[in-house]
Amino acid sequence: MRPLTKLYARKIYRQKLIYIFFACFFTASFFYAFLISTPQMEEMLNIDIGVVGGKNFPEFMMRFYVGTVGILFNAFLLSLFICEEDRSRMLYQPLLHGETRSRMIRSKVCVAVGMSMIFVLLTAFINYLTAFMRWGYEIFQQDACIRTLMKYMLSGIYMSVITLGIVALCICTRSAWKTIFSVVIYLLIDQFIYSSNVALLQKIWVGYYLNLWTFTYEYQNIPLNRLLMGMSIMILYGIAFFKISLWRTQKMDF
């Protein structure tokens, strides 16, 4: 790993926000597993325990993270990581010590994407842990387990693309609030496109495929053509976001 990447990785994992967030996520997952899925709560909340509990619980909880919460959390974290560093004049410091702009942004992207993947892994671990504590070995039923882990992997890819998008936003806007506001707008548009019937727009919208995988095909296997189509679109978006970040960084006046 390059020294600059190491420096950034060290910097981001020192953020207390991450540990607070995952502590909260663990608590939420624990409460869902132990309280909401009990028969008494089931009646109160009218939740179908057969669907959200047991082997399907990790997939059910995954949606909480990758749908909205995780994206917003990444936006907050990356705004601190890039925009606030820019504001406090730390972003350009490596450039005064022999680093190039291209290497600097590659290191940032590397850490940000790595971080988003690790966070998805961490949510998978937390959800499986709480599910195991509640239902025991039942959750490791082979078909469901493979399907869920695959969905986590796909979510990881989606979160990486979104992370690249947030990095591009941070670099272009150079403002934490503009970045977070843009992400909120993205999430609203995302919901609108998923629920609308504009097929052409849905086909080219990166968030549509995640919704398709997690909602339309919830607790089911994803058809191969849907999966490949979604991944291709995500890769294209990812490349575009990365190129935008790279191009904008070269033009940036500090």
Partner: protein
């Protein structure tokens, strides 16, 4: 003679908020520096000092011009050119949660050949050895300035650029910092570009001066030459101000710089001090107060930038 930095026809314009007009921040700035020079970059706020320094460090794009650092063109090989430069720009910024030593180490890792112990040596050099394990968030601005200097010294650069390094320092701190810069220039064969508003101190320790006004270079050269070329200033209080004013404005070889009531400030152009006194006496002017002072960098700066 060997040149550490050569800047030619540097120009930078910024688009105004309405995007139709542009504002020239730096216009046709040129200078060259030899090893061990300390150049004072002076100018009023918004004169283009920081923009110039940022263009030299490639943090800011330039519209026109050429920058060569130690015979390496910044445009052609920015990586190599900037490896010879250390800089502390803007307000010193650090990772607040890390200690002084950790902060310097973070950046030391970006260099390939930093020997063990150099971080502590640098901290010792800037007088922060005893604070090495203290978190930067507990540092005063003066300590941060010193730490920024230590960071700029990493990799033993041939050229160090400091943007208003004396900001926030107490008078003793300023003197110590300037001494440190002078020592470094001599002992480590380092060249410095220092932007500052401390004209009195700059006059003492800078070998070269460059004054910018509205982005343009209005004066540059060796400090000694600039100040020796300029003439002496006489402050005098004379009776009968009307008569004195008429006489002084007619008198050849002198020029009236300013007048506040009976207090006249006069620049001796070609006339020496003795001759000037003789002229006053010959014209029966009663002198209540008379003092001569050397034309300082501050006088020159104010004259050139149109200050009071």
């Amino acid at each position: 003679m060997e040149k550490i930095i050569s800047v030619k026809n540097l120009r930078k314009t910024y688009k105004k908020s309405n995007k139709l007009n542009s504002e020239t921040a730096v216009d046709n700035v040129c200078f060259e520096l030899t090893p061990q020079s300390i150049m004072g970059l002076l100018g009023t706020n918004g004169a283009g000092k920081t923009t110039t320094l940022k263009m030299i460090t490639n943090l800011c794009s330039k519209d026109k011009g050429k920058i060569v650092i130690d015979n390496v063109s910044l445009d052609e090989n920015p990586g190599l050119a900037l490896s010879k430069v250390g800089a502390a720009l803007d307000t010193p910024s650090f990772y607040q949660e890390l200690t002084a030593k950790e902060n310097i180490e973070c950046f030391a890792h970006l260099y390939k050949n930093i020997p063990d112990g150099q971080v502590m040596e640098l901290l010792d050099y800037v007088g922060l050895k005893n604070q090495a394990e203290k978190k930067v968030k507990q540092f005063s601005l003066g300590m941060k300035q010193r730490l920024a200097l230590a960071r700029a010294m990493l990799g033993q650069p041939k050229l160090i650029i400091l943007d208003e390094p004396a900001n926030g320092l107490d008078p003793q701190g300023q003197i110590d910092l300037y001494r440190l810069i002078c020592d470094m220039a001599k002992e480590r064969n380092t060249t410095f570009i220092v932007s500052s508003h401390q004209l009195h101190d700059m006059e003492k320790f800078c070998t070269d001066i460059l004054i910018l006004d509205k982005g343009k270079s209005i004066l540059q050269g060796k400090t000694e030459e600039i100040l020796s070329e300029t003439t002496n200033i006489v402050d005098c209080i004379l009776e009968e101000s009307k008569t004195a004013e008429t006489l002084l404005s007619r008198c050849q070889g002198i020029s009236l710089v300013s007048q506040k009531g009976n207090l006249f400030t006069i620049r001796l152009e070609t006339v020496c001090f003795d001759e000037f006194i003789k002229k006053l006496i010959a014209n029966h002017l009663y002198i209540r107060y008379l003092s001569m002072r050397k034309y300082s960098l501050q006088d020159l700066f104010l004259k050139l930038t149109g200050g009071a």
